[in-house]
């Protein structure tokens, strides 16, 4: 029976190979169009240029953190770990001893905000994608309303919950609220790209209760959106300054505030090391989330 599909499959594969390699079949013209000759290469170079503009400063900062001096056009005197050593707490850094407590605190609080977003954002995105209820559009709008400046939300928090000023809980809830639209929008987009009604009905007809169908079938199908939402909400929360500045007091000091207070007082190369550490943590967090996302949502190789 399976032989039956061979012809059409082979045909499709040949077609896609032709498209990728650019080889000509009887259907393609021998003469390349102007768009193909000029338009596409131009577009590709624009993309390279934009990426370079974005990446070069980060790369330069990272490289500089290992240089002895940065007084010229390019940093010189490689390779030294002195600035990293200072930042990591093995020496004095600016007005603070080291960045580790602030980094750890920021990582934990951002993770808390992200987890809260997963718990709240996924059901909201599901309800908005799955059900047509009264005031659906209003709820949809409200779900993305928290895209407001951190300062405004900070003031609102201080006025509403003055007793919780400076607590980690306020930061977690605030980060969750501030970044929730990114979670809701990305997960909603994932849900809308699959037939959640039919998937849910399949699972239920096979004997799964609604919660089980939701958790074991629907949620894993939206893994790309959930993963993207986690990465966006975590990285934005970890770097959030305005809201943190408004509501947070005392120790440990979140990393964004630590950087703000110290960059102006510390030598450039030590600041570069601090930023590089932060950047490395963000990259690690993204890699871990992707790993978790790829392994955590699939049972393709699971034989339990």
């Amino acid at each position: 029976m399976t032989d039956y599909y061979t012809d059409s499959k082979a045909e499709a594969e040949t077609g896609s190979k032709e498209l990728r390699s650019g080889t000509e079949s009887k259907w393609t013209s021998a003469r390349r169009s102007a768009s193909e000759r000029i338009g596409r290469p131009t577009l590709v170079w624009i993309v390279y240029l934009v990426v370079a503009i974005l990446v070069v400063p980060i790369l330069m900062t990272f490289i500089s953190s290992f240089a002895s001096t940065a007084t010229g056009v390019l940093p010189r005197g490689f390779v030294t770990f002195e600035h990293w050593r200072h930042v990591l707490g093995f020496g004095d850094y600016g007005v603070r001893a080291n960045a580790i407590p602030g980094l750890t605190f920021s990582v934990l609080v951002a993770t808390g905000g992200m987890i809260l977003n997963v718990i709240i954002g996924i059901p909201i995105a599901y309800a908005l994608s799955r059900y047509d209820f009264a005031a659906h559009n209003w709820v949809n709008t409200l779900a993305i309303l928290p895209i407001v400046p951190g300062v405004i939300l900070g003031i609102a928090f201080l006025r509403t919950y003055p007793d919780y000023r400076g607590s980690a809980l306020v930061l977690i809830v605030g980060y969750c609220l501030l970044k929730s639209p990114y979670m809701v929008l990305t997960v909603q987009s994932s849900f809308q790209s699959i037939d959640i009604v039919k998937l849910e009905e399949s699972a239920r007809s096979l004997g799964a209760s609604w919660p089980r169908a939701f958790l074991t079938i629907i949620v894993p199908h939206a893994k790309r959106g959930i993963l993207a939402g986690c990465i966006i909400t975590w990285t934005l929360a970890a770097a959030e300054f305005n809201f943190t500045y408004m509501v947070h007091t005392g120790d440990p000091e979140p990393f964004s505030m630590f950087l703000f207070r110290n960059i102006s007082n510390a030598p450039y190369l030590q600041s570069a090391a601090a930023i590089s550490i932060y950047f490395s943590i963000v990259v690690c967090a993204i890699l871990i989330l992707q790993l978790l996302g790829n392994r955590g949502f699939t049972t393709l190789n699971d034989d339990r």
């Binding site: 029976m1 399976t2 039956y4 599909y5 059409s8 499959k9 037939d195 039919k198 998937l199 009905e201 399949s202 699972a203 239920r204 007809s205 096979l206 004997g207 799964a208 209760s209 609604w210 089980r212 079938i217 894993p220 199908h221 893994k223 949502f297 699939t298 049972t299 393709l300 190789n301 699971d302 339990r304």
Partner: protein
């Protein structure tokens, strides 16, 4: 497998009546087809059996047990969708074993039963593949295996072959039909493709505007439609207007006998194959359509009405030709105005 009964099922959404008093029985081991135009209520009927719709009135029974308010996960109903709805986060085998896992069947037994079904559906070599990498036909087989794995009271197939190419559809149609017979499954087959329903189903229910117009075998629905809707929806029918008087119906160009003893205007439904050439009525060919083995002729009768008739594919007729036509009264159906039941014409 079970006997499924729908008793006076009515489903209303706001002011819209989707299903209006449907009475149906799917007998133990039979495949009942539901055909009808879009919006006739066929999918709502299927979803009512599955438990995803609660009827406004009426009840659903499985082997005499009322399941009207039993949730879908407790009904033991197999569902096969047009869009497959396979779990792409699981392998083919895990898709098939999912329902068994929900029933706490042991891992060994789950695997054994899944492999048997995959073997039966000739997709055993795909067991460890991701469903997303399979062709449409292969995915539909996986969907069928998954639904059959739980040994459902009733298997519900919702337009499972829509979207597949014509050749594959024909092949799969035969295979699924044989499989349902072999496994003696009670099945409901919803489709808008009447030919598919005729080929696969033991009996067919024709739905229109939420009501059952007729239930019967493919042959009885085709040859003995009970009303104009069935006559025109299932296959092609020529509807001719006649006047009944003195046990005869005057069609303008010929007369038919009438055993209904009706008077007044009647509608006569005749299939294209009920007309033949060489008759006494002169008709003008308006259009010819070559269909391989046969050729469809659109001809204009002396009273101005147009009919479609079939001739041999090799017959050489062109627009403008004048041909002699006669009507075979054997299978012609007569629907007196105001009376829904059909009569068989006698010449």
């Amino acid at each position: 497998m079970s006997t499924v009964r729908l008793e006076s099922i009515r489903k209303v959404y706001g002011e819209e009546v989707a299903v209006d008093g449907v009475d149906l029985e799917i007998r133990d081991g039979e495949t009942l087809g539901i055909v009808g135009p879009s919006g006739c209520g066929k999918t709502t009927t299927l979803r009512t059996i599955a438990g995803f719709e609660t009827p406004t009135d009426g009840r659903v029974t499985f082997d005499g047990t009322d399941v009207t308010h039993v949730p879908p996960e407790k009904r033991n109903v197999g569902l096969v969708f047009q869009s497959y709805a396979l779990f792409e986060t699981k392998t083919v085998r895990k898709n098939v074993t999912f329902g068994l896992k929900m029933r706490d069947v042991s891992k060994t037994e789950r695997r054994k039963r899944a492999d048997e079904l995959l073997e039966l559906l000739d997709i055993a070599d795909l067991a460890d593949r991701n469903p997303a990498t399979l062709s449409g036909g292969q995915q539909q087989r996986v969907g069928l295996a998954r639904a059959l794995a739980i040994e459902p009271h009733v298997l519900l197939l919702d337009e499972p072959m829509t979207g597949l190419d014509a050749e594959l559809k024909l092949r799969l149609r035969d295979e699924i039909g044989s499989l349902l017979d072999e496994l003696d499954v009670t099945a409901l087959y919803v489709t808008h493709d009447q030919e598919e329903a005729m080929a696969m189903c033991d009996r067919i229910a024709v739905l229109n505007d939420g009501r059952v117009e007729q239930v019967g075998t493919a042959e009885s629905i085709y040859r003995q439609p009970t009303n104009e809707f069935v006559a025109t929806f299932v296959g092609t029918s020529n509807l001719l207007t006649g006047v009944a008087r003195d046990d005869r119906i005057d069609l303008g160009f010929t007369e038919l006998a009438d055993d209904m003893r009706t008077t007044g205007e009647v509608t006569v439904a005749a299939r294209p194959e009920d007309f033949s050439l060489g008759g006494p009525v002169d008709a003008t060919v308006l259009e010819t359509t070559y269909l391989g083995q046969r050729k469809d002729l659109q001809v204009e009768l002396p009273d101005g009405s147009t009919i479609t008739m079939q001739v041999d594919g090799d017959a050489d007729y062109r627009a403008g030709d004048v041909v002699g036509v006669e009507i075979d009264p054997e299978n012609v159906q007569i629907f007196p105005t105001g009376i829904r039941e059909r009569t068989t014409a006698l010449l």
